[in-house]
C-alpha cells in the first residue's frame, strides 16, 4: 500500500518536472529567437554637422555598412562645412570663385535648380542674413532694418554661376549648403547601403530621417513627427508609415530666440525680406524618395506658406508629398500619403 503510493508520488513529481522543463525550454527558445532578431542590427551614433545622428542597419553586412556610413558622414561634413579648412566651401566664400570639385559643384547645381523651381524660396546664399541674426554663432540679436537692407543686396542664388567644377559667387557674399547637406548625406548613405547589399536601414541625421526598404520584419517604417507645440512631451503630430523614403521636417520650433519685448524669432529666414518667415505655418514635413529634395523643400514650403506650398505641390506632386501644421493647430496632408498617416488630431487633405 505504502509502496504503491510512493510510486504514484514519484510519477507525479516526474510528470510535473517534465512539464516545467518543457515550459523552460519554450521560454528559452522564445528569448533566443528574440535575440537573433536584434543581433542582425548594427547601430552607430555620430556627432557631425552640428547635430547628432543615428544610423541603424539590418541584415547581413550590417556592421560593415554602418562603419562605412560613419566614414561617409564625416567625409561629407568636412567637404561641405563652411568652417572646414579642407572643405570646398570655405575657400569659395573667401575667394569669390574657385574649383570646388565635381561633387560640390553637383550639389550647388541641384540647389540652384530647386531655387529656380521654388521661385527663390530656397536659397543657399542667405548666410549673411543668418550671421546678422546670430543663428550661425548662437549670439542671437534682432538686426537693424538698415543692416538687413544692406545685406539683401548680397543675397540671391541667381548671382551664382557654375561652369564645370568652377563656381563663382557673382555678387553673392557667400554660400552655406547647411539647408541640403543632411539631405544629400542621407541620399548618399542609402546609395552606399544598396551597394553593400542591404535591404533594410534607417538613418536619422539630427531628426532628418531617410529609410531604405522596409523594417527587418517587412513592415513599413513608422516615423513619429514631432509636434511643434508639444516638443519633448511624447506627443506626435502624427505617424507616417513609409518604405524607401526620406521624411524631413522644418519648423520654427527647432531654433529660435525671444527678444526683450517677448517677440520670438526663428531660424527660417525669408531670402526676400531678411526676416524670419511668418506664414502661419508651425512646421512642414516633406516625404520624398530624394533626401536632398525633401531637405530643401521643407525650408522652401515653410517660406511659401500653406497656399503657396499647396500650389507648388500640385505642379510637382509626383516628386513629393507633405504634412503641414499651422500655428493654430490645423494639420494638412497631401492626398498621396493620406492613407499612410495616422494622427490624434483632425487632418485635412490637400487634393490636386
Amino acid at each position: 500500500m505504502q509502496k504503491a503510493s510512493k510510486r504514484a508520488f514519484i510519477r507525479k513529481v516526474k510528470r510535473i518536472t517534465a512539464l516545467f522543463a518543457a515550459l523552460a525550454f519554450v521560454f528559452a527558445a522564445m528569448s533566443c529567437a528574440h535575440q537573433n532578431d536584434r543581433s542582425a542590427q548594427a547601430t552607430r551614433e555620430v556627432f557631425a554637422m552640428d547635430t547628432y545622428m543615428n544610423v541603424a542597419c539590418y541584415g547581413k553586412n550590417a556592421e560593415k555598412a554602418a562603419d562605412a556610413a560613419v566614414s561617409e558622414i564625416k567625409r561629407i561634413d568636412a567637404l561641405l562645412s563652411i568652417t572646414s579648412e579642407s572643405g570646398s566651401i570655405r575657400n569659395l566664400n573667401e575667394k569669390g570663385s574657385s574649383n570646388v570639385g565635381a561633387e560640390t559643384a553637383g550639389i550647388i547645381e541641384r540647389a540652384l535648380d530647386i531655387h529656380n523651381k521654388t521661385g527663390g524660396a530656397f536659397d543657399i546664399t542667405v548666410l549673411p542674413l543668418m550671421e546678422l541674426w546670430g543663428f550661425t554663432s548662437g549670439e542671437y540679436r534682432v538686426p537693424e532694418e538698415s543692416e538687413l537692407k544692406a545685406a539683401l543686396d548680397g543675397i540671391g542664388s541667381e548671382k551664382l554661376s557654375v561652369s564645370g567644377d568652377e563656381v563663382s559667387l557673382g555678387g553673392a557674399l557667400g554660400i552655406d549648403l547647411g539647408g541640403i547637406a543632411k539631405g544629400y548625406t542621407s541620399d548618399r548613405l542609402i546609395e552606399l547601403f544598396k551597394e553593400k547589399g542591404l535591404t533594410s536601414a534607417c538613418v536619422s541625421l539630427g531628426g532628418n530621417v531617410q529609410c531604405l526598404g522596409t523594417r527587418s520584419d517587412g513592415g513599413a517604417w513608422r516615423c513619429g513627427i514631432v509636434h511643434p507645440f508639444h516638443k519633448d512631451s511624447g506627443v506626435y503630430l502624427g505617424v507616417i508609415a513609409v518604405i524607401d523614403k526620406a521624411v524631413i521636417t522644418s519648423g520654427a520650433y527647432e531654433r529660435n530666440f525671444t527678444d526683450e519685448n517677448g517677440v520670438r524669432y526663428h531660424h527660417i529666414i525669408d531670402p526676400k525680406t531678411g526676416y524670419p518667415a511668418e506664414t502661419g505655418l508651425a512646421s512642414v514635413t516633406i516625404v520624398s524618395e530624394s533626401g536632398i529634395l525633401a531637405d530643401a523643400l521643407s525650408t522652401a514650403c515653410y517660406i511659401m506658406g500653406l497656399d503657396g506650398a499647396s500650389a507648388y505641390w500640385r505642379n510637382s506632386a509626383e516628386q513629393f508629398d507633405m504634412i503641414l501644421m499651422t500655428n493654430d493647430g490645423r494639420v494638412y496632408i497631401t492626398d498621396g500619403i493620406a492613407d499612410s498617416f495616422t494622427s490624434d488630431f483632425e487632418v485635412r487633405i490637400i487634393n490636386r
Binding site: 510535473i16 552640428d50 531628426g207 532628418n208 516615423c223 514631432v226 519633448d232 521624411v247
Partner: protein, 124 residues
Amino acid sequence: MKAHLRDIILIAAILLIGGIIALVLLLTRKTGAFVEVRVDGKTVASYPLSEDAEYDIAGVNGGVNHLIIRGGEAWVESASCPDGLCVNMGHIRHAGASVICLPNKVIVEIVAPDSGGVDVVVGQ
C-alpha cells in the same frame, strides 16, 4: 494518511517553486522607463527614471555634465560646456525625449520598453 501528507508537501513545493519563479520574474522585469546616458555614441550608464539620484557624466575632453533624476524627471543641472545648451534644454520625462550636449558629446535619453510603436522620430 501518509499519502495525503505527501500530496500536501508536493502542492506546497510546487507553490514554493512557482512563488520563487514569480518573484524572480517580478524583480528582473523592466517596468518603468530608464535614463540612458551615452558618450560619443557609447552607452555608459542606464538608470531607472523612478529612482531619485545625481550623477556626474564624464564627457569627451574632460567635460562634465551634472545629471539629476528626481520625481520621474531627468535634467542636466550644470555643465562644463561653453554654450550651456544642455542645461537650457530643461527637464525630460517621456520616452524618446533627450538632452544633448554637443561639445561634450553627451546624450541623456529616456528609453522605455514600449515607445509608442514608433521606429524613428522626425524633427528635432
